[in-house]
């Protein structure tokens, strides 16, 4: 990981795009403006972080803006990791897709769309990946109920069959 000063230098180079830097448990994180994500990632790639390890979503309920997308970058030659985060509100959950530069983000962005509802503009095939395609709702959001079924015990079977009628 770049150390704290390295992180600040990185943030300065990226200029207006960075909203915040976080250095926590020896891991560096940049919080960036959602509209600039593609340029930020390209700039980081130019610096050596050429491997996108993971793209995943977070729901910061109840803090606004709620939906976050986290990009984990890895520099294999210097064995360095850096995290890039952005946050979008639920009423305008649009983020530019980075699939054109980083093909690994294909399925992962689809999963974030499926689970959180973040719409990735420019994604070649944005549809649900884990839930059935005609499912309604975004399950991983914190206000979506966990769900579940009451357990059907055999001793309750007559009650359950009667309830069905």
């Amino acid at each position: 990981m770049p150390d704290a000063t390295g992180l600040e230098l990185l943030a300065q180079e990226l200029g207006d795009a960075t909203l915040e830097t976080v250095y926590f448990r020896e891991r560096a994180t940049l919080v960036v403006d959602p509209a600039t994500i593609r340029t930020v990632l390209s700039a980081l790639r130019a610096k050596g972080y050429a491997f996108l390890a993971s793209v995943h979503g977070v729901d910061h309920y109840p803090d606004e803006p709620r939906l976050g997308v986290v990009y984990e970058l890895l520099d294999m030659s210097r064995v360095d990791r850096v995290t890039v985060k952005l946050r979008v509100p639920t009423d305008a959950p649009h983020v530019e897709s980075v699939v054109a530069d980083w093909p690994t983000a294909d399925h992962q962005e689809r999963e974030i769309y499926d689970m959180f509802g973040v719409v990735f503009d420019g994604h070649p095939d944005l549809r649900r990946i884990l839930m059935p395609e005609d499912y309604e709702g975004h399950p991983q959001r914190r206000d979506f109920p966990v769900g579940g079924e009451p357990v059907i015990f055999t001793r309750d079977e007559t009650k359950w069959l009667e309830a069905r009628e």
Partner: protein
């Protein structure tokens, strides 16, 4: 509904139809004017229930004759909502939930999650605990590769290899049962170390296994390496170069078979892997044969790691002495009041983790397994995300198998080692 009427189908249901035929591009027809002008592309559904799909993977394969032109994997048939369930449970109760994700490498799932939580808590795992973790992780790596070898050989037609691999795996599962009580999904790894020390007969049994295993791995090599069928089906089929693999995010034996020796155990050593000497098997061409040889070689390297860990196993505690995180030993409960209170607090509410986010990555048998934990200061995690290697590796399937025959695609899916539990979570 009258008998002759077709029910109205949603777009999703219409796409579920098994076969579609579509005319070839006119351009392509003109180019290959020697061929029959009435050729069509056949889209075939390798449904979720199929003997060769290693779980419930659905592939929409577009074929031109027997040549694969396009593959679209459709997943989600074993989606369990693991990450959602994990938000509902105390931190140590998440460990069995997360273990069931990638169901062949359960210790790795637990390790990634425990590593992330330990980083958040800034808890040190004692060396004995780390060595025990390494022993179990490498045993699990061998077990996972054995099932991979067995099922892949089954796909290629070599049925007896399946039984041989299961024979070895029974030995490993016996060892797991000795140390933790369960064969699979053992909840052996806890935050701060392991749940209990190894029993007295464990070391002897493990040494017997280690004496036997390299010979068996050589036996599998002797049967398969020079086998004409294996060579014809695996050598030269579906290669992919390392740069494309890196851009697709592929790590693990697939990347190593293509020539890039990236291994997180060497690059960012965790859990005292830096104490052990082992080699990284690397392939040259990146075709199916290299992937097969890489994994079998990894089995033997894992045996070496376990031997070194067993020889160097230090004395000491197996779990962190921080009572706010790890359960106190039972004998203290009858003498110490603080131990009783800690035990009560840990079992009912669980420990609280300071707010923050951490991504912790380890090397699982399939590649980089990362765990992202976000905590908001309470005793339940606010977000647990497992970056599963099979989920990302699956994107490489269409790049690998396009242009090859169907039989090569089957072999490629086998060599890709997808675990649908990890893909779908």
């Amino acid at each position: 509904m009258t008998p002759g009427e077709q029910p109205t189908l949603s777009e999703y249901r219409r796409r579920e139809q098994s076969i579609t035929l579509s005319p070839l591009d006119e351009q392509a027809e003109r180019e290959e004017s020697a061929q029959d002008a009435t050729q069509e592309l056949l889209t075939l559904n390798f449904g979720p229930h199929h003997p060769a799909t290693h779980g419930v993977l659905r592939l929409l394969v577009t074929l031109q004759g027997e040549v694969v032109r396009d593959i679209k994997p459709i997943i989600g048939y074993v989606h369990t909502g693991i990450e959602k369930t994990a938000e509902d449970k105390a931190y140590w109760k998440v460990i069995p939930i997360v273990e069931r994700m990638d169901y062949l490498s359960y210790y790795f799932n637990a390790m990634a999650y425990c590593g992330a939580v330990e980083t958040l808590l800034e808890v040190q795992v004692p060396t004995r605990g780390q060595y025990l973790r390494v022993i179990h992780l490498e045993l699990n790596r061998i077990a996972s590769h054995l099932i991979w070898l067995g099922t892949s050989a089954l796909d290629l037609g070599a049925v007896s290899i399946f039984l041989y691999c299961l024979r070895e795996r029974e030995l490993i599962l016996d060892l797991f049962e000795m140390s933790s009580g369960a064969r699979m999904h053992t909840r052996y790894f806890q935050v701060g170390g392991v749940i209990d020390d190894i029993p007295s007969g464990f070391e002897r049994r493990l040494r017997e296994f280690l004496k036997v295993m390299p010979g068996r791995a050589d036996e599998y090599g002797a049967i398969l390496n020079s086998n004409q069928i294996v060579l014809e089906r695996l050598r030269g089929t579906c290669p992919l170069d390392a740069d494309t693999l890196l851009s697709l995010g592929v790590t693990g034996p697939l990347l190593r078979a293509a020539g890039n020796p990236w291994d997180l155990r060497k690059a960012t050593p965790y859990s005292s892997y830096e104490d052990f000497q082992f080699k990284i098997p690397v392939g040259t061409v990146g075709d199916n044969y290299d992937r097969y040889r890489c994994r079998v070689a990894e089995i033997k390297e894992s045996v070496r790691i376990i031997e070194q860990a067993l020889d160097g196993l230090p004395e000491g505690p197996y779990v962190s002495p921080d009572r706010k995180v790890a359960l106190p030993p039972r004998h203290e409960l009858s003498t110490s009041m603080e131990a009783l209170i800690h035990h009560f607090k840990l079992v009912t509410e669980g420990f609280r983790v300071p707010p923050g986010e951490v991504y912790y990555a380890i090397e699982s048998p399939r590649g980089e397994l990362g765990c992202f934990v976000r905590s908001d200061g309470s005793s339940k995690p606010a977000r647990v995300h497992m970056r599963d290697p099979s989920f990302v590796n699956l994107q490489a399937l269409s790049h690998m198998a396009e242009g090859g025959y169907i039989a090569d695609m089957i072999a490629t899916v086998a060599m890709l080692d997808p675990i649908l539990g990890g893909i779908d979570r």
